[in-house]
């Protein structure tokens, strides 16, 4: 059985008294579609900004981006608002973000001026204000991962020697320690994120990267850093036509701790390599049709039951895609997320499978930072408690805010001014009623 609210109760609203007709109806199956609202969280971003996104332990998306004024900013996309914090103000590039288990957010970037090389910024958690510190060395395309206790691991490209390097924070000395990731790393000039790092089920850092010959990558390499050193596993994909490293790769683990790597093949397919106990198996996530397009996997989530979601961007079509292996791979466009040109969007999937995308959008010359996805709360008109659905709870809250067209909006009731008239009146009730239609 289910409780229903009669539309007539809303349409007959007179502003003085609410009469809700609650009836007990027969349960009917319905599908609650994932709402993909879009929000602008900041303006004035650098058009060259490399942004990144993560979802913290409280389910709040965190976005790191560079402004046109060379500030590294962190935006916490909270209920109907975005709280912006400055992490670094002296210019730089790159931004790799990782939320910590203590509700802090960490960002690794390459800073100019004081930082002079790779640097680490933190906000939230136990810090009363954001703080940053240089790592003590320079590099490109850093990627950050944190283990369950907040220990950071950074993988980056050292162009001086064309090497892939791995850095970790050594707690006993309080310093960063750098080592070379072993294996035939291939440096591709001008490409991004040719390596990534993630933490496996046993809390060990694992690096995935492309290997092969210069500008001819045909290997996926998974390197696990244990207390005894590096354990290397390699999958040679030469017979598959090689790999296309231009848009990077993504790494995640299933409950058996098997690494999964998503990448694009040279012919253009999006593939998944599972490094199991008895070998590496391949699946096609998306088969290339027609002329090759550039696909960049940026986030992957594997549920407890083995369900895999991959979020990636399709540069050719200018859209963000979601792939899902439930009953076989399906690939769907995320509606409405367009207009980022060649600026890469960032994607994140939280532990429950809710995803979010952050991207840049040019609005009459002003670069906006936008977020979208089910993990972004408060994108629906009338959803004032930010649970991504307009329901009776919102309606009851509206009741206390309803003052009619002649009275200015009360403090704390701004959310219910759906039509932006600076009052909460019957017109807003009508819009809220319309939002109920999503059920």
């Amino acid at each position: 059985m289910t409780l229903c609210i009669h539309r007539s109760a809303l349409s007959g609203w007179n502003g003085s008294m609410v009469v809700l007709f609650l009836t007990v109806g027969v349960l009917t199956p319905f599908a609650l579609a994932q709402q993909v609202g879009i929000r602008v969280i900041a303006e004035g971003a650098s058009e060259l900004s490399e942004l990144d996104l993560g979802i913290d332990v409280n389910g709040i998306p965190q976005v790191a981006y560079w402004t046109a004024d060379n500030e590294l900013m962190l935006a916490s996309v909270e209920c109907r608002t975005a709280v912006l914090r400055e992490l670094y103000a002296q210019g730089g590039r790159y931004a790799s973000l990782a939320p910590g288990t203590d509700a802090s957010t960490s960002v690794v970037f390459s800073g100019f001026d004081q930082a002079s090389g790779l640097a680490y910024a933190m906000s939230g958690g136990l810090l009363d204000q954001p703080a940053w510190a240089p790592l003590g060395f320079a590099g490109d395309w850093p990627v950050l991962a944190l283990d369950s206790t907040g220990r950071p691991y950074v993988v980056y490209v050292d162009h001086d020697g064309g090497m892939l390097k791995f850095a970790r924070f050594d707690i006993p000395t309080g310093k960063w320690v750098v080592e070379i990731v072993p294996g035939p790393f291939v440096e591709f000039v001008g490409t991004r994120r040719v390596a990534t790092v993630a933490v496996d089920v046993d809390d060990r850092p694992v690096v995935a990267y492309f290997g092969g010959h210069r500008n001819s990558a045909h290997k996926i390499i998974v390197a696990t850093r244990t207390n005894q050193g590096w354990t290397i596993r390699t999958k040679d994909l030469e017979n598959e036509g090689g790999v296309s490293p231009e848009n990077g790769l993504s790494l995640a683990f299933d409950t058996t701790n098997a690494p999964h790597v998503v990448y694009q093949t040279a012919p253009g397919d999006l593939k998944l390599a599972r490094f199991g106990v008895f070998g590496v198996s391949l699946q096609t996530v998306r088969e290339q049709q027609g002329s090759p397009v550039r696909l960049g996997p940026r986030a992957m989530h594997i549920g407890a039951g083995g369900r895999i979601r991959v979020a990636y961007f399709d540069i050719g079509a200018g859209v963000v895609m979601l792939a899902d292996n439930l009953g076989g791979w399906t690939n769907e466009i995320v509606d409405g997320v367009t207009g980022f040109n060649d600026l890469r969007p960032a994607l994140a999937v939280d532990a429950t499978g809710r995803w979010a995308v952050a991207y840049l959008s040019d609005s009459e010359g002003i670069i906006e930072v936008k977020v979208a996805g089910p993990a972004v709360l408060g994108t629906l008109d009338g959803d004032c408690n930010c649970d991504n659905v307009v329901d009776l709870v919102d309606f009851v809250e509206l009741e206390s805010c309803l003052t009619g067209p002649a009275v200015s909006i009360m403090e704390g009731c701004e959310c219910f001014d759906i039509n932006g008239s600076t009052t909460v009146d019957l017109a807003d009730v009508k819009l809220l009623q319309a939002a109920f239609g999503d059920w």
Binding site: D102, S106, L126, D128, A133, I171, P172, T173, G174
Partner: protein
Amino acid sequence: MAFQKAFGCIVLVAVLIVPVSAIDLSWEYQIIDQHANQSRAVSLAMRTSSVWPVAFHQGSNDNSNQMVVSALSPVGWTQQGLGDLFDAFEGGLPLAEAGPDGRVGVVWRTGADARFAQSSPSGWQVASLPLAAPSGPDFTVDFDFLSDNRPIVAQAAQEGIVVSVYNGIGWETDQVVREFDEPVQGMKVSTAISSQDEIGVAFVENGLGFAFKSPLSGDWGTTIVDQQIFPESISLAFGPNDETAIASVENDSLYVSRFDPVTGDWATELLAPQIDSNRVNLVYNSLGQPALAYVVQDEVHYRINRGEGWLDFILDDDPQIQVQPHDSSDAALAFDAEDIPVISYYSQDGLLLAYDPIIVPEPASIVLFLMVTVAAVRRQG
């Protein structure tokens, strides 16, 4: 032949005894706060599954009347004030613990109240507790976490010991010792939680005492641990299997009292006849081995009992940092997730963290080892 056997035995005995002083521990040092007030008080805990060290101490310069927390993170050491502190009060000295879920907390006294602070995902939370009355400035407080992460705070007062448990909304109090035979000046108290969430309290009245709340009756039972000592500082700890010990400092002598479940008796041993630290914190590692640290003149001693008596390690020098401790500095001890000892104390270079000993045998040890080997070979020959 007899000489060879005797020589071998002597050398063997020497090897068993000597390693305490013959093994050198190489420590890593970090400066937590170069400008930290040269107070003697510091307390240490490891947050987030015993990984990240957190030190609680008096603030520096303009913040000298503040309780300050210094926390290590990938951006280095960061400091933050937690509230008023009056270092003139003996009871104001901070005492820290780590909770089961990785949070850390600290308790201290001001002139007006007792303060409890703990880490949380939204930053530091600070609560005020009314002081148990009547009590003077040198009455101490201590705390520990229950398995559900609720804090319990023990306070000493002239007329008894009060334990407060946080129930999620407020503090519930219970009196452990309702009336002392005679009012005790400068009452000291230390508390710890057993593996079964039972509250233990150590106190000083007619000697060193111990109280334990019965899980069956809910009543407090008290026992006299040692009537011969009246410590100025005490520290109670339970091991992972409820091994029970109390460290105490009396007239600059360091004692450790341990309960023997086989005999049912407490036994007190003198660990060091003369130390400069006014207080110590006793901790167990995950193997149930008790340990503590203290300062003697210009040395920091780390002591641990691995079942064969108390080992004594002296922290070594460092070419970059002045590691000699300040007189009477605390040497706060904690173990990380891998049972590696971590010690915080004051030196000329400020508040330091010593970490990660790497055992490097000295030539003396190597020579002894060779002698034993030779003796053993000769015996077999």
